[in-house]
């Protein structure tokens, strides 16, 4: 038999990919070491965060699975940046680590057309230059039209515990060494990255009473636009700090650190440094914050967030016990660093298909990213596009102005990566538009067209969009005139002075004004859904900025429409700077707009490229 889509790897990228392609009706196999242990959280037990929370909402709006699992497994919900503006508000939830994996297995087992298979996908089957499946470690062939690789840290994974090294992608689990050899033999550009994780501690050995508590939001907000059940806060987190003794213990062990003895060659993430890095690079800082995060409700393990390390276990134990509340802490599993291979994502098309091998898709840490959410977003895009390929349809690409997912994919394929890539809100030039509150407004229609979202959900959002337009119209036409009663009302609501007739739209634009007060000005609030009021309030307050961004987007879109033919020969292009030529060849941009975003490319290079493309289009033979 032949599958439509074979997904290799059962992490966050692989699960999302398999869920998407099977949901789109493709016969899908998910091949992983242990199909009863999917979507494991190798690092911190939390989903979401700044920019990442937006990604989770987008995945949900497109019919992905992450938000649903995170809601069901969630035990502590928080909206980050709640006191700041709507564009940077980001949901985050602590998860019950075991529940997360268990719920993912439950959901995927119920997905039609999806087989969960046990085995190590160790090489790609290629016949007459065409990809036709994978083979496992024992040499069994699994035939498939398309393959999605999501090996994560398992690809050539090596763990470092102090100066001791163990092959593997996660503690106690062996690596995918053969697959790494296979990709290298096929000529993929592999590089080495590094990440790390802290020791896990026995909760019963921690003195919680002495620590500051961090509570979840009440009421907690779910990730999913259609949560299966109300979410609940079930635990609280705690905060403690390192001190001078901690730092002394760590510095004393640096000679046995694989990071500082040159053993680790892979590049680590700057936004997630190990505790030895923090102390070494910021010697003036006398104390570092640590969040103590329970890994579950009935779980006796906590995750000390902020002290990831690859120091030897005895040094770990010594420094941990200098920390208030952790004086008697027992290590359940030591922290470690892991090095793994990634493949240069510039070798991918924006729909995450390999330029080197048709029908091969890649997602997650293999593309140089870090983070469960970044992995899942790529898995979703790879799964959707593998399914579209099987159906013979054109690829699904999200633009940078449509979704953080689009920013993520474009950054990867255009800029490549030199360190583990993490998404930031600042990565999006249109972040005022890409908010967690409007992911369904932006994307649910696409999800519906792909067959991932039920029609009634899509229709509901369309209805809200129409209502928002109507309400905005009403706010423009309803004019508030100065009078004793309106002056009193303005004073009561803290809106300042009213000196001349003012459209209600402008009243709403005043900083303290809220949409829920519009009934005080004669608006019938019962006509409008809370989601409509929320969107109208945000868009009215941001209007000038949103309009400016839309104008820029419309201009940029013209250059995004200028396609560069796939067969364009950069070597034959005349007048091109050699450095620019190499960059274009590396990335093979799909459009002039993408070409202009390649780092180190100048306006004149784009001019020359465009002139050459025009020439090619007119006379492909001569060019």
């Amino acid at each position: 038999m032949e599958y439509d889509v074979i997904v290799v790897g059962g992490g966050h990228a692989g699960c999302e990919a398999a869920h998407a392609s099977a949901n789109m009706g493709c016969k899908t196999a998910l091949l992983t070491f242990d199909p009863s242990a999917l979507a494991r959280m190798s690092c911190n037990p939390a989903i979401g965060g700044v920019a990442k929370g937006q990604l989770v909402r987008e995945i949900d709006a497109l019919g992905g699975v992450m938000a649903r699992v995170a809601d069901r497994a969630g035990i502590h919900f928080k909206m980050l940046n709640a006191s700041k503006g709507p564009a940077v508000r980001s949901p985050r939830a602590q998860s019950d680590r075991d529940a997360y994996s268990r719920i993912m297995v439950e959901i995927l087992r119920e997905v039609p057309h999806l087989d969960l298979l046990s085995g190590e996908g160790s090489s790609l089957l290629i016949e007459q230059g065409r990809l036709c499946g994978v083979s496992d470690r024992q040499g069994n062939h699994l035939r498939g039209k398309t393959v999605i690789l999501t090996p994560g840290t398992f690809l050539g994974g090596v763990m470092h515990f102090g100066l001791q090294q163990v092959a593997g992608g996660r503690i106690g689990e062996s690596p995918s060494q053969v697959l790494a050899d296979c990709l290298a033999a096929l000529g993929f550009n592999l590089g080495r990255l590094k990440t790390g994780t802290p020791a896990r501690l026995d909760a019963s050995t921690i003195d919680f009473a002495s620590l500051d508590r961090q509570l979840g939001d009440e009421p907690p907000a779910p990730f999913s636009y259609h949560p299966e059940a109300p979410v609940q806060n079930k635990i609280c987190c705690y905060i403690t700090r390192t001190n001078a003794s901690t730092h002394e213990a760590i510095l004393g062990g640096l000679d046995r650190s694989p990071l500082y003895s040159g053993v680790i060659k892979g590049v680590g993430p700057r936004y997630c440094p190990s505790i030895e890095d923090k102390i070494h690079k910021f010697p003036d800082k006398t104390s570092h914050q640590i969040f103590i995060e329970p890994e579950g409700v009935d779980c006796n393990v906590v995750y000390p967030n902020g002290i990831s390390t690859s120091l030897p276990e005895d040094v770990q134990e010594a420094f941990i016990r200098t920390i208030p509340g952790l004086e008697r802490a027992r290590i359940v599993k030591p922290g470690y660093a892991v090095e793994y291979f990634f493949s240069n994502p510039q070798d991918l098309y924006p729909w995450l298909e390999s330029k080197r091998l048709e029908g091969l898709y890649m997602a997650g840490q293999l593309n140089g990213t870090s983070g469960y959410e970044e992995a899942a977003a790529q898995g979703l895009i790879a799964g959707i596009n593998a399914a579209l390929k099987v159906r013979g349809e054109s690829p699904f690409i999200l633009r940078r102005d449509e979704a953080y997912i689009g920013v993520l994919a474009d950054d990867l394929v255009t800029k490549g990566c030199e360190e583990p890539y993490r998404l930031f809100t600042a990565s999006a030039e249109h972040r005022l538009l890409l908010r967690q509150d409007n992911a369904d407004f932006r994307l649910m229609e696409s999800g519906y067209r792909l067959g991932m979202i039920p029609r009634e959900w899509k229709d509901e959002v369309e209805g809200w969009k129409r209502d928002a337009a109507l309400l905005k119209e009403e706010l423009r036409s309803r004019v508030i005139t100065p009078s004793d009663s309106t002056r009193d009302l303005f004073a009561e609501l803290g809106l300042g002075e009213i000196s001349h007739p003012t459209p209600l739209e402008q009243v709403l634009r005043r900083a303290p004004m809220k949409a829920e007060w519009l009934d005080r000005f004669g608006v019938d609030l019962s006509r409008w859904h809370a989601r409509v009021l929320e969107q109208v309030e945000i868009e009215t307050k941001y209007q000038g900025y949103i309009e400016r961004q839309i104008k820029i987007i419309e201009e940029d879109r013209k250059s995004e429409r200028r396609a560069i033919p796939p067969d364009f020969d950069y070597d034959a292009a005349s007048g091109m700077r050699n450095e620019a030529r190499e960059k274009f060849k590396r990335v093979q941009p799909a459009t002039i707009g993408q070409a202009a975003r390649i780092p180190g490319v100048f306006p004149a290079d784009i001019t020359v490229l465009w002139v050459n493309v025009l020439k090619h289009q007119r006379d492909p033979e001569a060019a």
Binding site: K84, P273, N305, Y545, P603, T607
Partner: protein, 462 residues
């Protein structure tokens, strides 16, 4: 370096097609889908533009207030029969600096963007209006232009502008780093106790940008320079002084009154500034036709000059007519400066008694050091008329002046927002736009890597 994608836009752009500076006419050129409609909004009669490629006479009128800016010739070139292949329009106005600036500002306000270097030609290529052989040259043409532009600004600005911009970029980046740290890393930002003094920092940014603008000298205005007119009764020695000042025998000098009939111009450099010196016909009632025209022209030149050097004989002092002229200048043109030149001081011993309101300098065209004092006085007058902070000033072109204005506007708005309940990410938008403006101004094209700055400055990450 401007944003690469700007060359790929299809919006409306305008530029002065003729060299900047004084000229009989100046040609303003527009290209883009909306430019014929745009021209119709400012040119009357607009209907005359419906004849393709026909030059028509009319008026350039500001639609806001109906004010006529200039009498002009205009023509519309509908696509594809134009230089760029797009809709184009040309407006031929008078070549005065004020006219050109007012006209360009009107076009920009009506929606045109100042053209980038080589943009008209690039559009011509894009629309297939040039053959492929020439097309190949366009890439290097644009490149060489920007190289020239870069070396020019280097020479002109002696690095002052770039350094000032680099300092400002660093300052804006510093504020941006704090702001973005708060947005991206709320858990850590709390710990770093950031943003307490954000308001003070944004205020400093706005003030620094304003200081930068005060140092910016508009290239066109500067290069036009100071216009100084030598005026006075016939035969007081204006032409002799003129020749001495410009250092060559340009004006004909005879002992006869009324030798200079027409005005003579020469450009010299004084105190590092361009100075246009104009010798005029002596002012007197005359029945001689040519001389009368010359006298009339002298009066007109007086009204256009920045500096009037009123020359009289040291032995005689000012006559009634000269006093009248001075009073007229004071009344009608208060910005015009006057320098009283007591000439032929070699013939008298005592300093003349004259009008105390204006500086007096005595001179002689006959003695070796006779014009030294005059040159010195002229120098200080020119220095005051074209004030330039010589240690810090730099020349900016029209496009740079606009970017600088935008930069200041952005920083002022960011400052107005911080601490006023406006979400921080909106202030960040303004700062980001300010950084873009700086990148366009100094040609670096390098957006500062905010994330790298955050990681090097703060210990971030759990």
């Amino acid at each position: 370096m401007t944003d690469p994608a700007i060359y790929l836009r299809e919006d409306d752009v305008a530029a002065l097609a003729t060299p900047p500076g004084r000229a009989a006419i100046a040609v303003l050129r527009l290209t883009g889908p909306g430019v014929i409609a745009l021209a119709g909004r400012v040119f009357h009669p607009a209907s005359a533009l419906s004849h393709p490629r026909r030059m028509v006479y009319g008026a350039l009128i500001d639609p806001r207030n109906g004010e006529t800016i200039d009498r002009v010739m205009a023509a519309a070139f509908p696509a594809p029969n134009s230089y760029t292949g797009e809709n184009m329009a040309e407006i031929h106005c008078h070549g005065g600096e004020a006219v050109v600036r007012a006209a360009l500002e009107l076009l920009y306000r009506e929606g045109a963007r100042p053209a980038e270097p080589g943009e008209f030609t690039f559009r011509a290529v894009r629309h297939g209006k040039m053959d492929l052989a020439r097309a190949e040259a366009v890439g290097s043409l644009i490149e060489s232009r920007s190289r020239l532009a870069r070396s020019m600004s280097l020479r002109m600005l002696e690095g002052a502008f770039s350094e000032a911009l680099a300092e400002l970029r660093e300052a804006v980046t510093g504020v941006m780093v704090e702001l973005e740290t708060q947005l991206e890393f709320p858990d850590e930002a709390m710990e770093e106790a950031l943003g307490r003094e954000l308001k003070a920092q944004t205020a400093v940014l706005a003030a620094r940008a304003e200081a930068l603008e005060r140092r910016a000298v508009r290239e066109q205005r500067f290069e036009q320079g100071v216009i100084a007119v030598l005026a006075g009764r016939p035969n007081v020695g204006k032409s002799s002084l003129f020749n001495r000042l410009i250092g060559r025998e340009r004006a004909i000098v005879t002992p006869h009154a009324g030798t200079t009939r027409d005005s003579i111009e020469a450009s010299i450099e004084l105190a590092g500034r361009p100075l246009t010196l104009i010798d005029t016909a002596g002012l007197r009632e005359t029945r001689e036709e040519i001389e009368a025209i010359g006298v009339e022209r002298s009066r007109r030149l007086l009204s256009e000059s920045h500096l009037v050097m009123l020359v009289f004989e040291a032995g005689e002092g000012l006559c009634e007519e000269e006093r009248r002229l001075l009073a007229e200048i004071e009344r009608e043109r208060p910005e015009t400066r006057v320098l009283l030149v007591a000439n032929k001081n070699d013939l008298v011993s005592a300093a003349p008694a004259v009008e105390p309101r204006w500086p007096v300098v005595s001179a002689s065209a006959k003695t070796p050091g006779g014009v030294d004092a005059l040159l010195k006085a002229l120098e200080s007058a020119v220095t005051e008329l074209a004030p330039v902070d010589e240690d810090g000033a730099f020349l900016v072109g029209e496009r740079q002046a606009r970017r600088l204005a935008e930069l200041i506007e952005r920083l002022r708005r960011a400052d107005a927002m911080v601490g006023e309940g406006v979400p921080l990410e909106v202030a960040a938008e303004e700062l980001r736009a300010a950084l873009d403006a700086i990148a366009e101004l100094d040609g670096s094209g390098v957006a500062p890597d905010i994330m790298t700055a955050i990681f090097s400055r703060f210990c971030i990450g759990k």
